[in-house]
């Protein structure tokens, strides 16, 4: 295969690489939408009454005629098939419908909540990755085996402690005890810190497991042996050689972690009373607000698929071998090799 020098060839390669990815991308989102639709609508009970009772409390209307009118208003009338197509076509036009429980447009609710969640998730990811790299670095450069073992034992604690508990402990110490950070809400820009740390614990711990394993493996590899023999300092070897090679398998886990974050934010957003996708989801599920649940699922599926697409593409940037041959199989092979060999 030619090197990626001339643009038409490069374009063709990119299309050949991207086209199946995009088809897969669309399929994943359609399938997620359909499964969610079936789950919501095949469950027993009436989603309209459930959502109305959130707003109406003990004054909730149960008059059949009134319910029929409301059903039509929220697009919940007609056969299951009509509803499915109606909502799907609407969604394709960018209209996610109205929330039954709040009456607000679903698109607006998500647009409002998404940046809050993204801010916490990104900060959590950065904190988790940076601290994993730092801890691993110290474990790598230390001369004493017991220090290394101790350092390597700390991060798994992050997974063991539930986010609900660590969140409350952090609030008690830093907000109520020391009065350093706000306990809740998103009115103060600093209020992002505690939820991000809470989420960074499990996220960092998972990332650490993969990353530190890759680093330890690299320590035993021939190129590190060569570099050491040449007299390079451990710090230089780590930053120049080991870090780059270990990031490749770690990038894969990042894609999965973003999926984890989508679920994990529900807990921290509840504990820290923050507006966000997680809490929106919890509220919508409790109210069986089907329009909101479907809207969120579509948006989260979109985000997740885009991230995974980006992860796939990033192999080309990090590993020059995949850059030279940008084809699906080459990337897949590079992924496998990255995990075992490097």
């Amino acid at each position: 295969m030619k090197s990626a020098g001339t643009s038409p060839t490069r374009f063709a390669v990119a299309v050949r690489y991207l086209a199946p990815k995009l088809v897969q991308f669309a399929f994943v989102i359609w399938a997620t939408y359909t499964v969610t639709f079936l789950l919501i609508h095949l469950l027993p009970g009436d989603p309209l009454l459930a959502a109305l009772s959130v707003k109406g409390g003990d004054a909730t209307t149960t008059d059949p005629a009134a319910l029929e009118i409301l059903r039509a208003q929220y697009g919940l009338d007609g056969s299951l098939w009509d509803q499915y197509w109606g909502h799907l076509i609407q969604a394709l036009q960018g209209n996610l419908g109205l929330s039954i429980a709040t009456g607000q447009p679903v698109g607006d609710m998500i647009a409002r909540a998404l940046p809050n969640t993204a801010a916490v998730a990104i900060l959590a990811l950065v904190l988790g990755v940076v601290s994993s790299v730092v801890i691993t670095y110290f474990a790598y450069v230390t001369r004493w085996g017991w220090v290394r073992n101790t350092l390597l034992q700390i991060p798994p604690l992050g997974v063991a402690i539930p986010a609900f508990l660590s969140g409350l402990v952090l609030v008690s110490i830093f907000a109520f005890g020391l009065d350093l950070l706000p306990s809740s809400g998103s009115r103060n820009p600093l209020s992002i810190v505690l939820p991000a740390i809470t989420l960074a614990l499990p996220v960092g711990a998972i990332f650490f497991q993969v990353f530190s394993a890759a680093v330890l493996e690299a320590m035993a590899s021939p190129y590190v042996f060569t570099a050491t023999a040449k007299g390079l300092a451990p710090r230089t070897i780590f930053l120049r050689h080991v870090l780059r090679n270990s990031l490749l398998p770690s990038i894969t886990i990042l894609g999965l972690l973003i999926g984890y974050l989508a679920g994990g934010t529900a807990v921290v957003e509840t504990v820290f009373s923050r507006d966000g996708i997680g809490r929106l989801t919890v509220d919508a599920v409790l109210a069986r607000d089907s329009n909101v649940i479907q809207g969120i699922i579509i948006v989260v599926a979109l985000v997740y698929s885009v991230v995974n697409l980006l992860v796939d593409l990033s192999y080309g940037v990090i590993d020059p071998r995949t850059r030279a041959a940008l084809s699906g199989t080459a990337v897949a092979r590079a992924k496998d090799e990255a995990a075992v060999e490097v």
Partner: protein, 536 residues
């Protein structure tokens, strides 16, 4: 009296007559009334009131969520106010009001100095627009449509006088007019779509105006400059005492209580009962009021064979120990339920004797009715087990306590905890033995809403012509004493025939730091923050 002056003025005007009429100073220096003390003020400008959930809808006409109403009350005034202690209806936006003999027409005279926060004046036409739009909204405003049942029209006499007419007598209307469900919003607001009113918030004539609403995060209200038409039930007159009230949405109980302890919040909504004892010290103030209306109860569907047996229902009523339920699951500040209405509802008449715990009498009733104790501790009759279900979507602990108590007399109460949607679904189809829930309404008419078979929102299914006629009659009786007699009768029948097994008076329990004062409940057990103030 042509124009209603401030409370200070009226109280002092009597002894000091004309002299006081020309001088407010005179009013401040004369007499011994408590409002002659130093004027109320707050050294803290901003009060932080942590609420437990997103208010969802800011327009109190369109929601019945307690959290929304607690905030909406500060922004929207009502035609009349109700004294929560005596049940007396007093002037507010309307300086006077009268009804015709059969309670089908209500004539109001408005104050002439009231404006909405958009600068427009309160006139009869605005009130008409309010009521007409509520009728047009129909089921989108479910509570309002109950208060306005039989609404015919609002006839404007002039700018300040108007008459509201109903096709049939409507005794609960005046009381409904005191709630924020029938609060008065500006004409511009009435013309808006329901979802806009919910998110943008209505333009009211209240002592505060909406400043911002970030869904799921916070609501901020600020003081209305120039406000001077508080009802006489308030402690002071003029503008509110604090300039800003923030309502952060704090869903996590531990964060609300922790924030109160650390001083991050001044007031918190819904202190969990379990935390109550931590906050009974002098550092905090507790505010407790039982929800008005029907207490959390078992509400029967007497078309079910076992439930139709009066002996079974009576045995359940006598076999339920409400003292214990309150002790186990209620607020320390709460009282055991003793009637079909809660003790905070106007018209409440204690049935303490008839509802006293008496398991022996309960067992005797069941024995006499042929329910024999089976080997498994559950009674049975002709091969049928004495098993009934209770459909509920909250307060499982209350039901569990009841379940254990009823088991002792051989009744097997099966709990059917469902989602709120399924609960209302069961009501719509009539598919239940007992419902377990309370119904919040500030008027004793709650009994008609719950029990009258003619009511659109009926929960209880009973076939009792006497009760039905009493319930309908009380809604059409203008004489207070006569109406009270009917409501007493209704409570008596409901308890006597065990059409309801009361379990617990659910308490609204809020807490503040002790430097905060002036938090009061209105007659619907929602908070009124006009007088709220805090010292540093």
């Amino acid at each position: 009296m042509s124009t209603k002056k401030s409370r200070v003025f009226r109280l002092t005007a009597m002894p000091v007559a004309a002299l006081a009429a020309i001088s407010l100073l005179a009013a401040c220096s004369s007499g011994t009334a408590d409002n002659d003390a130093a004027p109320l003020e707050s050294s803290k400008d901003t009060i932080v009131f942590a609420i437990k959930e997103d208010p969802t809808c800011l327009d109190p006409q369109l929601t019945s969520l307690t959290t929304s109403l607690n905030i909406g009350r500060q922004v929207v005034d009502s035609l009349v106010d109700q004294n929560p202690e005596t049940g007396e209806i007093v002037p507010w936006l309307a300086e006077s009001f009268e009804t015709n003999d059969d309670l089908s027409a209500f004539t109001f005279t408005l104050r002439d100095d009231v404006t909405f926060s958009d600068g427009t004046a309160l006139t009869s036409a605005v009130v008409k627009a309010n009521l007409d739009s509520l009728i047009a909204l129909g089921k989108t405003a479910p509570l309002a449509s109950q208060f306005l049942a039989g609404y015919v029209s609002t006839d404007v006499v002039d700018d300040l006088n108007f008459t509201v007419t109903f096709s049939a007598p409507n005794a609960p209307f005046l009381q409904g007019a005191s709630t924020m469900t029938l609060g008065i919003v500006s004409e511009a607001t009435t013309a808006q779509a329901a979802d806009v009113r919910c998110t943008a918030g209505p333009i009211g004539s209240g002592s505060f105006v909406y400043d911002s609403y970030t869904p799921n995060d916070s609501v901020v209200i600020v003081k209305r400059d120039g406000y001077d038409w508080a009802s006489e039930l308030r402690e002071h007159t003029g503008e509110a005492l604090v300039s800003t009230i923030e309502f952060p949405v704090i869903t996590e109980n531990g964060v609300r209580t922790g924030g109160l302890e650390s001083g991050e919040f001044d007031i918190i909504q819904d202190l969990p009962y379990i935390d109550e004892s931590r906050f009974t010290t002098d550092d905090y103030n507790l505010y407790a009021a039982a929800n008005t209306g029907v207490p959390n109860s078992l509400i029967p569907n007497t078309t079910r064979p076992i439930v139709a047996d009066e002996a079974v229902r009576k045995a359940m009523l006598l076999g339920t120990d409400r003292e214990e339920i309150n002790l186990l699951t209620g607020s320390v500040s709460g009282q055991p339920a003793t009637s079909a209405l809660t003790s905070s509802t106007s018209g409440f008449e204690s049935q303490a004797e008839a509802t006293a715990y008496d398991p022996d009498a309960a067992e005797e009733l069941l024995d006499d009715a042929g329910w024999e104790m089976g080997s498994d501790g559950i009674r049975e009759k002709d091969g049928t087990k004495l098993t009934v279900t209770a459909t509920a979507f909250y307060a499982q602990d209350v039901l569990e306590a009841t379940q254990i108590q009823l088991k002792k007399i051989g009744i097997d109460l099966q709990l059917k905890m469902v989602t709120s949607g399924d609960f209302f679904g069961a009501i719509a189809t009539g598919d239940y033995d007992f419902l377990a829930a309370g119904l919040t309404r500030s008027d004793p008419d709650a009994l008609r809403v719950l029990f009258s078979q003619a009511s659109a929102a009926k929960w209880g299914i009973v076939d009792d012509a006497e009760l039905e006629s009493i319930l309908l009659e009380q809604a059409a009786t203008s004489d207070t004493a006569d109406r009270q007699a009917l409501i007493d009768q209704a409570q008596e029948i409901i308890i006597d025939k065990a059409y309801l097994v009361p379990m617990l008076e659910t308490t609204q329990l809020h807490a503040s730091v002790s430097t905060v004062s002036g938090v009061t409940f209105d007659s619907a057990s929602r908070v009124q923050l006009y007088d709220v103030r805090a010292s540093e």
